[in-house]
C-alpha cells in the first residue's frame, strides 16, 4: 500500500481562514472591475462634479462663486469636492511634474470610497449574521451590481454617501449588539455628518439613523456604560469638530436662506439659473387641490409604482441608466425575480424577534418610501415625463438591501432550496455584473472607452 505524502505545508494550509482569503479576492475583484469603469464614460453629471472639484482644487477653503454659471457653491454640501480638491493639491505638492489627469485622480478616489463601501458591506453582513461568509457573499453581490460599479468609476458624491451609509449603519448595528457606547456613537455621528456634508439628500438618512440611535438609548438607558479611553476621547473630539461643520453649514443656511440649502436663484440671477429649459413646458407646481380635482385621470402612486417605477428602479440599478445606458433585459428580469424570491422567503421564513434585521428593514423602508414619494411628486409636477427617475438615488441603501437579501437566503430552512438559491444568486450576480461587462465589451462598453493620455 502506498504511503501518504506527509506535507508540513498542507497542515499549515488547512489552517488558513478561507473567508478572509475570499474577502481579499472579492476586494481585488471589485477594484479590477472598478478600474475598468474608471476608463468608461457616461456616469451621471460629470460636468458639474468636475467643475466643483476643479474649483476646490484652487483653494483650501470654499472657492469663490462664478456669477455667470448656474453651478452654485454657496451654502451647498462641499465635503466630497473639498476632499477631491485636497487630494489634487497634495498630489501636486508631492509630484510637481506629475502628469496625472485630475479627472483620473478623482475617479480613482471614487473607486477608493466604493471599495470601502464593499468592505463595510462585508462587515455589516458579518455583524448581522455572525457568519463572515454572508459578508463575502454580500460584498460579491454589491461588487457585481452594474450601476454601483459604473458610478464607482465616475466623479460623484454618491460614492462617498454610499460609504457613509454602509459605515454608519455598521456602527449602529454594533451599538445594538452592545458594543462600546461612546465609540460607536461617535463613529455613527462622524459618518452621518460626512454623508450630510457630501450631499443634502443624505440628511434623511441622518434623521433615520439618529432616530434609531435615540430608540436604542431610550430602551437601554440604564445599561449604557460610558467608558472614556484615549481613543474614545479622540473620537469625541473628531465628532465635535464634524458637528460644528454640520451646524455651520445647515444651521447657517436655515437662518440665512430659510431652508437647508439655498436654491440657485437665491444666490444668482434667474437667467443664469435656468437649466433644463426643455422641461419647463411640462411643469406644473405640485398642488393637492388640483390633484383632487383630476383624481380620476391622475396616475395614482400605486399604479405608478406597479406600471413604471419599480421596474425602472430595478433596471437602473442592475443595468446602467445614465448619459450612456445599457439595459440587459434578461439579466434585469432575473434580478427582479431574485428580489421577488427574497421577499417571498422573507415572508415565509420570517423571524419576528430579530431586532437587527427589523432595524435594517426599517431603514430601507423609510428611505425607499422617501425616494418613491420624491419621484412621484416630480412626476406629477412634470406630467409623468420620467425626468430623473432612476434607481441611482437608492444606491446609498443598496449595501443594506443586499445584506438583508443574503441574510434572508441564509435563513431558508430547506437545505436544498437554500443551496440552489445561493448558488443561483452567485451565478446571476457574476453573469449580470463583471461577466456581462466583459462579454459585451466589444459591443457596448468599447464605445464608451475613456482615455487619459
Amino acid at each position: 500500500m502506498e504511503k501518504p505524502v506527509n506535507h508540513k505545508i498542507t497542515n499549515k494550509l488547512s489552517r488558513v481562514q478561507i473567508h478572509k482569503v475570499l474577502m481579499v479576492l472579492s476586494m481585488i475583484y471589485f477594484i479590477a472591475f472598478g478600474l475598468m469603469m474608471v476608463h468608461t464614460s457616461g456616469q451621471p453629471d460629470q460636468a458639474p462634479h468636475t467643475y466643483f472639484s476643479r474649483q476646490f482644487s484652487q483653494t483650501w477653503g470654499i472657492p469663490e462663486e462664478n456669477p455667470n454659471l448656474q453651478y452654485t457653491i454657496t451654502g451647498q454640501p462641499y465635503l466630497y469636492y473639498w476632499l477631491n480638491g485636497a487630494a489634487y493639491k497634495i498630489y501636486r505638492l508631492l509630484f510637481p511634474a506629475g502628469e496625472l489627469y485630475p479627472a483620473l485622480l478623482w475617479r480613482l478616489m471614487s473607486l477608493f470610497y466604493s471599495s470601502l463601501t464593499v468592505f463595510f458591506t462585508y462587515k455589516l453582513a458579518k455583524s448581522i449574521t455572525g457568519n463572515p461568509y454572508t459578508g463575502v457573499i454580500s460584498a460579491f453581490f454589491l461588487s457585481n451590481t452594474l450601476m454601483f460599479a459604473f458610478v464607482s468609476g465616475g466623479i460623484s458624491y454618491d460614492n462617498l454617501i454610499g460609504l457613509a451609509t454602509a459605515a454608519a449603519v455598521y456602527h449602529l448595528i454594533s451599538l445594538y449588539k452592545g458594543k462600546e457606547f461612546i465609540r460607536q456613537t461617535s463613529l455613527i455621528g462622524i459618518w452621518v455628518i460626512i454623508g450630510a456634508l457630501a450631499k443634502d439628500q443624505f440628511l434623511l438618512l441622518t434623521l433615520i439613523i439618529f432616530i434609531a440611535w435615540l430608540f436604542y438609548v431610550i430602551r437601554h438607558f440604564r445599561q449604557i456604560q460610558l467608558k472614556l479611553s484615549k481613543l474614545n476621547f479622540i473620537l469625541i473630539i473628531a465628532f465635535t469638530g464634524f458637528l460644528i461643520l454640520f451646524i455651520e453649514l445647515y444651521g447657517v443656511n436655515f437662518i440665512r436662506y430659510g431652508q437647508i440649502t439655498p436654491v440657485c436663484s437665491q444666490i444668482k440671477s434667474l437667467e443664469v439659473c435656468r437649466t433644463y429649459t426643455y422641461r419647463f413646458e411640462y411643469y406644473e407646481p405640485f398642488n393637492l387641490q388640483w390633484m383632487w380635482f383630476v383624481r380620476d385621470s391622475l396616475i395614482d402612486p400605486i399604479r405608478y409604482a406597479g406600471s413604471f417605477c419599480i421596474f425602472r428602479m430595478i433596471e437602473s440599478i442592475w443595468g446602467i441608466l445614465s448619459h450612456n445606458s445599457f439595459i440587459p433585459t434578461l439579466s434585469i428580469s432575473l434580478h427582479a425575480a431574485m428580489i421577488f424570491w427574497a421577499f417571498t422567503c422573507l415572508i415565509y421564513y420570517r423571524q419576528p424577534r430579530d431586532s437587527k434585521t427589523i432595524l435594517l428593514a426599517m431603514i430601507i423602508l423609510c428611505y425607499g418610501t422617501y425616494v418613491f414619494l420624491w419621484n412621484y411628486k416630480r412626476e406629477v409636477e412634470y406630467d409623468f415625463q420620467h425626468f430623473v427617475v432612476t434607481g441611482r438615488y437608492l444606491l446609498p441603501i443598496l449595501s443594506i438591501f443586499l445584506v438583508m437579501m443574503t441574510h434572508i437566503f441564509f435563513n431558508i430552512k430547506h437545505v436544498f432550496l437554500r443551496k440552489i438559491t445561493i448558488a443561483s444568486a452567485l451565478i446571476l450576480y457574476f453573469s449580470g455584473g463583471l461577466g456581462i461587462y466583459l462579454n459585451r465589451y466589444a459591443e457596448v462598453f468599447a464605445h464608451w472607452r475613456l482615455y487619459f493620455h
Partner: protein
C-alpha cells in the same frame, strides 16, 4: 479528504484535473472575446498564458482549500441532486451566452483612401462598427491604437477587419460594416476598398447632412479569408465542446464546496444552522 493523506498517485491525478480545469476555463473565457481573435500570435500566446496562470492560481486555491477537504460530502448521493442541475445550468450558460465562442474568424482586407478638394485636409473615421451587433472593430491593423483613424489627403491606409462567423447567429447576420466619419467632413472623396472591391463617397459641405456621416459598406465581403486553421478544425471544435462541460463541472464543485463551507462555519460557530437547529 485530508490533503496530507493523499498518495503520490492521487497527487498526480489531482495535478491532471487541475490542469484540465485550468485549460477549460481559460478556453471558455478567452474565446468569448473578439479582441482575442483580433490579436496576433505572440499576443494570443501571452494572453493565453497569463489568463491561464490566473485561472491556475484560482483553481489550485479552490481545489486545495475548498473542494478537496469536502470532496466526500460533495459527492454524496443527496448532494448530486444539487450538483447535476448546477452543471447543466452552467454548461448552458457557458456555451450559449456568447456567439463568439463558436465563431470562425474571417478576415477582410480594407483600404481607406482620401482625397480632399483642397489637397491638405484630413478626415477622421470615428468608428468602424458591425451594425448587426454594434461590435467595434479594432483600429490596430490601420496603425492606430484607438479611434479616430485619421486619413490625410492623398493617403491610403491598409488594414483589415475580422468578422466572427458563428453558427449561432450566422443566419441572422448579413455582411455589413458601418464606418462613421466625423460630423463635418472636409470636401473630398473617401474611397473604401473591401477585398479590392471599391466603394466611393463624396463629401460636399453644401449637401452635407447628418445621415451620410455613417457609411454602410456591403460590397466585397464575399472575398474574405476564412481562418479555418485552427478555428474550424475538428480537434478545436471538440475541445470547445468539452471545455464548457469541464468548466461547468469545476464551477459547480466549487460552488458546492463553498456552500458546504459556509454552512459548516455556521454550525461550528453558532452551534446551529441558519434558521434551523443542528441535530448535534
Amino acid at each position: 479528504m485530508r490533503l496530507n493523506a493523499l498518495t503520490i498517485k492521487q497527487w498526480g491525478l489531482l495535478v491532471v484535473v487541475i490542469l484540465l480545469a485550468t485549460l477549460s476555463l481559460t478556453t471558455a473565457a478567452l474565446l468569448r472575446f473578439p479582441a482575442f481573435y483580433e490579436s496576433d500570435l505572440s499576443q494570443k500566446s501571452w494572453t493565453f498564458l497569463s489568463t491561464g496562470l490566473f485561472f491556475l492560481t484560482m483553481v489550485v486555491f479552490a481545489s486545495m482549500f475548498l473542494i478537496l477537504p469536502r470532496i466526500d460530502a460533495i459527492l454524496k448521493k443527496k448532494n448530486l441532486l444539487f450538483l447535476i442541475p448546477m452543471i447543466i445550468l452552467l454548461m448552458l450558460i457557458l456555451s450559449s451566452t456568447s456567439a463568439n465562442y463558436w465563431a470562425v474568424p474571417e478576415i477582410h482586407n480594407m483600404a481607406i483612401c482620401f482625397d480632399a478638394d483642397d489637397g491638405k485636409s484630413s478626415i477622421d473615421i470615428e468608428e468602424i462598427v458591425d451594425p448587426n451587433t454594434n461590435r467595434l472593430f479594432s483600429p490596430n491593423s490601420f496603425g492606430f491604437s484607438r479611434y479616430p483613424i485619421r486619413v490625410a489627403s492623398g493617403d491610403c491606409l491598409d488594414g483589415s477587419i475580422l468578422v466572427l462567423i458563428s453558427p449561432l447567429t450566422q443566419a441572422l447576420i448579413g455582411y455589413h460594416v458601418t464606418a462613421a466619419v466625423e460630423e463635418t467632413p472636409p470636401d473630398g472623396r473617401l474611397a473604401i476598398d473591401i477585398n479590392n472591391t471599391p466603394s466611393m463617397v463624396s463629401f460636399e459641405q453644401s449637401t452635407q447632412s447628418q445621415e451620410n456621416t455613417h457609411i454602410v459598406l456591403k460590397d466585397g465581403f464575399e472575398n474574405g479569408t476564412k481562418l479555418e486553421e485552427p478555428w474550424g478544425q475538428m480537434w478545436l471544435l471538440g475541445f470547445k465542446l468539452i471545455a464548457p462541460a469541464l468548466s461547468a463541472a469545476f464551477i459547480a464543485l466549487f460552488l458546492s464546496a463553498l456552500i458546504e463551507e459556509v454552512f459548516s462555519y455556521t454550525v461550528k460557530n453558532n452551534g446551529r444552522l441558519h434558521g434551523k437547529a443542528s441535530k448535534s
